[in-house]
């Protein structure tokens, strides 16, 4: 599904290149649950941003579902966002002016899905995440864990084939974090959704099927997690 070849990212200041990523090459298959780990400044977020097409690599090729991303137009990228990619953020990033239900509905609007279908999908999501009673509340009326649930529900509503999550549990208490990770695992196993998450936590990484260890912009280890 995803093929990275020799991805490099650096910032040039006064002729000195400061590298963020170096020679990153890897392949991720449909249905994998990958955790990107590493100390601060290792380039985890940059890698995720490149995967999410939020940043461009300075060098190298990136193929997403067989298409070369580097030569893709803005319009095509937006098409990919609409149909294949769901984002989950550490700070949830719900739209403050929208209720829970509207937040979940928002990506469907951009996908131009008909009203009735939208309603049923939103209802389905609310049901599935047990937040039917909160559908008319605004984000600031929810706890962090609840907000992140809405964030994931929003990402899933568009039925993406891949979810990119940047430290999804970073702002959460451990019990809530556990709940989110269980959810990811379930989505991955039952619906075959590819998940790529950046995390600091060994525990969280344990839910996935594969771990990429980054250090100073280089992949140091690529491990398969053996499920116990």
């Amino acid at each position: 599904m995803i093929t990275l070849q020799n991805i490099e990212k650096y910032y040039a200041t006064k002729g000195l290149k400061s590298y963020i990523l170096r020679h990153v090459s890897t392949t991720i298959q449909q249905g994998e649950f990958v955790s990107i780990m590493g100390p601060s400044g290792a380039g985890k977020s940059t890698l995720l941003n490149i995967l999410g097409m939020l940043e461009e690599p300075t060098y190298g090729t990136y193929e997403f579902m067989g298409e070369d991303i580097t030569s893709l137009s803005e319009r095509k990228k937006i098409e990919l966002y609409r149909n294949h990619i769901g984002f989950v953020f550490q700070a949830y990033h719900l739209i403050d002016e929208m209720t829970v239900a509207e937040n979940i509905e928002a990506p469907l609007l951009y996908k131009k899905i008909a009203g009735a279908e939208r309603k049923s999908r939103v209802a389905d999501m609310l049901d599935r995440f047990n937040i039917v009673g909160k559908k008319d509340l605004f984000p600031n009326q929810l706890s962090g864990g609840q907000q992140q649930l809405v964030g994931i529900a929003r990402a899933l509503a568009a039925q993406p084939s891949i979810i990119l999550a940047d430290e999804p549990t970073g702002n959460l208490q451990s019990a809530q974090a556990l709940q989110i990770m269980e959810l990811f695992k379930k989505l991955n196993e039952e619906e075959n959704i590819t998940i790529i998450q950046v995390t600091h936590s060994e525990v969280n990484a344990g839910y996935g099927s594969r771990i990429l260890h980054l250090l100073d912009g280089v992949i140091k280890e690529d491990l398969n997690v053996v499920n116990l």
């Binding site: 999410g52 939020l54 739209i95 002016e97 951009y110 929003r154």
Partner: protein, 797 residues
């Protein structure tokens, strides 16, 4: 999608209540001013536009070229209309219309006077009603207004005279105690916005005037309208016109005669020619108001752009999230524009309320009937629609572009800051522009007010206070009563002196004529003649520099001239002129007996004219009465009683000299008030805009200020820090505004022959005011920011 956008727009406006309020306040006041200006301009441009053939209607007007000057008149020589009817093949119709005024009396069957009233009248040729399609309720002007002594009334006048317009036709009214006129028709009321407010139309065939055949005499009251044949161009008339002028103006006057075909729409707009409604509004004033309106709207839009781009940062997260959900930039822009337009519509609703409240004030200021009705005036609705779209896009487009352009990667990580959100420099430019506009208006206001004060206080060379000017009927029978009237009035306690005259020393009613001094050759300029009696000088406090005042006489026996006349004739010492002979116009030769010190004989826009004062009982129209200023009410009552018993068949009418002079400056009074109002509006808009911006800056720099405070900065130092950049901007705005203001103001002042010297003070005052407003606003808000506890600011993140 639109419904959701609207919902989100409302929520986001509600969330930022403070900014929303500032925006709505600024926009609504700006919009209300624009709507008011629009209503006014629309009304002014609607004058005489109600006629079906309006595009083919022209008025013939006259002009005279002298060496170095030009005279204009809306009237034409009396023989012109029949001559044109004869000579011009390209015209459908030619119609003369003669304005007048007289006493209308109506007697009841037993012969007692039932109604006696003083009314404006028009002698009208029936062709006039072929040119202008008046609606006739009864009668046909082509048949019923042909015979002499027939008269048609408008509905209101018919009701006033006879109680019911259905009863009017067939009745008789008496005009000027002489002629009996038979009512033969009734027409619908003429709307207010008409240059020919005809209420009483008398058949022109009954009009008598001794100048009926004279091409050399023109009265403003004799107008002539023409209707061009369909498909013809008015420029084609140029050749025939020149031939026409050559053919009829055979006597060579001092001035060169000319005629112009003035389009109907211009009749209300060209104040050189005037019109029967005594009301003109020049295109210059209309343009001026329009420009002020645009300025107001611009400053309000600038507020909006400033606040919106400043706030953009707080919306960056939303933009980022929406983008990764698959929103196109276009869709985001649509969303932000929806927000702006929603806000604009709110502002419009408030603006409508303000308009409704302010309209009577505006109507009173212009003395016009203005109304604000969306049903009757769909143009206003259209204008408001355009305004919402214009403001929405002008104000919303740039912020929408900035916000929708945020990179999602930066936006999501909250790494967008004021610096790279774009527009920091633009915001500064806009604030400078806004303040420059404000300063121009403040300076303009100060100068207009100062010039008005100057004109009110300038000594005119005569005393105009406590002088009443009742008119006196000029027919030969009533003239016999003049001496008795004067004696009786002089005996009223409180009357200091009284004088029969044609007009006061300063008057809008001027008669110019040719004359010769010493020899026989006519001078190359005309003289302004003022018929008066011996008490004229005493009544108005005119001072003589040589010779003596007029002695008692009923006809021209001697002349008094003013200094300007002598100067124009190159006479250096006033004494030299005493005893010299002057011949006026048609041969009245008499000696100069006195030289009067110069006084202002017209409004202060004009220079002093050469003036000739002489006795001529036949040209008297007014009795000027100088009173003791403490007894004016009782004296006026006595004057009216005596007047009515002397002229029982006429209607008493009087003005005060001071009011007549005040009336010259109607235009200035309106300008002054408008400037005051709009300058305050613009100061207010700039003030709240600045307040919004400084609020934002203070919020943005909360952390910086907290750190500085922890490092030991005092509250005062922090306030000063925030002030400096704003004060600098206002200073630049002043530098930008000054030259522009200077050009506008000196152009306006150049209309006045008597004007104030343009000094540095209005500019300095405008700078002081703008600085004060800035310092006050910025300090008010930044003091609060500087006083906050640094812990509150620093514990974030």
């Amino acid at each position: 999608m639109f419904k959701l956008n609207l919902k989100i727009a409302l929520r986001s406006l509600w969330k930022n209540k403070g900014y929303t309020l500032i925006n709505i306040a600024g926009l609504s006041i700006g919009m209300a001013s624009c709507i008011l200006i629009f209503i006014f301009i629309r009304y002014q441009l609607s004058y005489d536009q109600q006629f079906a053939r309006k595009d083919r209607i022209y008025r013939v007007v006259s002009s005279w070229k002298y060496s170095g000057s030009e005279e204009f008149s809306g009237g034409v020589p009396l023989p012109l209309a029949p001559a044109m009817r004869n000579d011009f093949a390209m015209l459908d119709e030619v119609a003369a219309i003669q304005r007048g005024r007289g006493v209308i009396t109506i007697k009841d069957p037993s012969g007692n006077v039932r109604i006696k009233t003083d009314e404006r009248t028009f002698y009208v040729e029936p062709q006039f009603f072929k040119i202008f399609d008046y609606r006739w309720l009864q009668g046909d002007p082509q048949k019923d207004l042909v015979a002499p002594n027939s008269v048609a009334l408008c509905e209101d006048m018919a009701v006033k005279l006879f109680g019911d317009w259905h009863k009017a036709v067939g009745q008789t009214i008496n005009y000027n105690n002489k002629t009996d006129l038979k009512v033969t028709g009734v027409f619908a009321n003429v709307p207010e916005n008409s240059s020919n407010p005809i209420q009483i139309a008398i058949a022109y065939s009954g009009y008598v005037n001794r100048n009926m055949k004279s091409w050399g005499s023109v009265s403003d009251a004799s107008e002539c309208y023409i209707l061009l044949k369909e498909g013809r161009n008015i420029a084609d008339l140029e050749g025939p016109k020149n031939a026409f002028i050559k053919k009829y103006y055979v006597e060579k006057g001092v001035g060169k005669e000319g005629h112009l075909f003035q389009p109907l729409a211009e009749v209300h707009r060209d104040d050189r020619y005037g019109n029967s409604s005594n009301n003109t509004t020049g295109m210059k004033e209309i343009w001026g108001l329009g420009i002020i309106g645009v300025f107001l709207m611009l400053t309000a839009c600038i507020n909006f752009i400033n606040l919106a781009t400043a706030q953009a940062v707080s919306r960056s997260k939303e933009v980022g999230v929406r983008k990764v959900m698959g929103s196109r930039r276009k869709q985001l822009m649509v969303q932000f524009l929806t927000e702006t337009i929603t806000l604009t519509i709110f502002a419009l609703i408030v603006a409508c309320a303000i308009t409704e409240a302010a309209l009577p004030g505006l109507a009173g200021l212009f003395r016009e009937k203005l109304s604000f009705s969306l049903v009757q005036q769909p143009e206003i609705l259209g204008f408001m629609g355009c305004m919402v779209l214009f403001v929405g896009f002008l104000a919303g487009f740039y912020p929408a572009m900035v916000m929708s352009g945020f990179s999602p990667a930066l936006a999501i990580k909250n790494k967008v800051n004021v610096g790279n959100s774009g527009g920091a420099a633009l915001r500064k430019v806009l604030v400078v522009a806004q303040f420059a506009i404000t300063i121009i208006l403040i300076t303009g206001t100060l100068v207009v007010l100062k010039q008005m004060k100057f004109m009110r206080e300038k000594p005119l060379g005569f005393n105009s206070s406590a002088v009443a000017m009742p008119y006196v009927p000029g027919d030969s029978l009533n003239r016999l009563k003049y001496d008795i009237l004067k004696t009786r009035i002089e005996n009223i306690p409180g009357v200091l002196s009284a004088s029969f005259c044609a007009s006061g020393p300063s008057s809008g009613d001027n008669t110019l004529t040719n004359f010769s001094y010493g020899g026989t050759k006519d001078a190359d300029f005309q003289v302004n003649v003022k018929p008066a009696d011996l008490d004229y000088f005493k009544t108005f406090g005119l001072q003589l520099v040589a010779g003596r005042a007029l002695s008692k006489s009923d006809t021209i026996k001697e002349y008094v001239v003013n200094e300007t006349l002598l100067r124009k004739l190159n006479v250096v010492h006033p004494e030299e002129a005493i005893g010299k002979m002057i011949t006026v116009g048609d041969g009245h030769k008499a000696a100069i007996v006195g030289v009067v010190k110069d006084f202002n004989n017209m409004n202060l826009r004009e220079a002093i004219s050469p003036i000739l004062i002489y006795s001529s009982k036949n040209n008297i129209g007014t009795l000027a009465i100088k009173m003791d200023s403490h007894q004016i009410p009782s004296v006026m009552k006595a004057v009216e009683a005596i007047w009515n018993s002397t002229f029982p068949n006429n209607v008493y009418r009087s003005t005060f000299m001071e009011e007549d002079i005040e009336r010259y400056y109607e235009n200035e009074r309106v300008m002054g008030t408008l400037f005051k109002v709009f300058a305050s509006v613009i100061i207010f808009i700039a003030f709240i805009g600045l307040f919004g911006l400084i609020s934002f800056v203070a919020t943005q720099r909360t952390k910086e200020m907290a750190i500085r405070k922890v490092l030991g900065a005092s509250t005062f130092e922090l306030v000063r820090m925030l002030n400096i950049s704003f004060v600098l901007m206002v200073l630049i705005a002043n530098l930008v505004a000054w030259p522009v203001a200077y050009i506008f103001i000196s152009k306006w002042l150049s209309r006045y022959t008597y004007r104030i010297e343009l000094s540095i003070w209005p500019f300095a005052a405008a700078m002081a005011i703008s600085m004060l407003v800035t310092l006050l606003t910025v300090s008010l808000r930044s003091y609060r920011a500087a006083k906050t506890n640094p812990i509150d600011a620093l514990k974030y993140e």
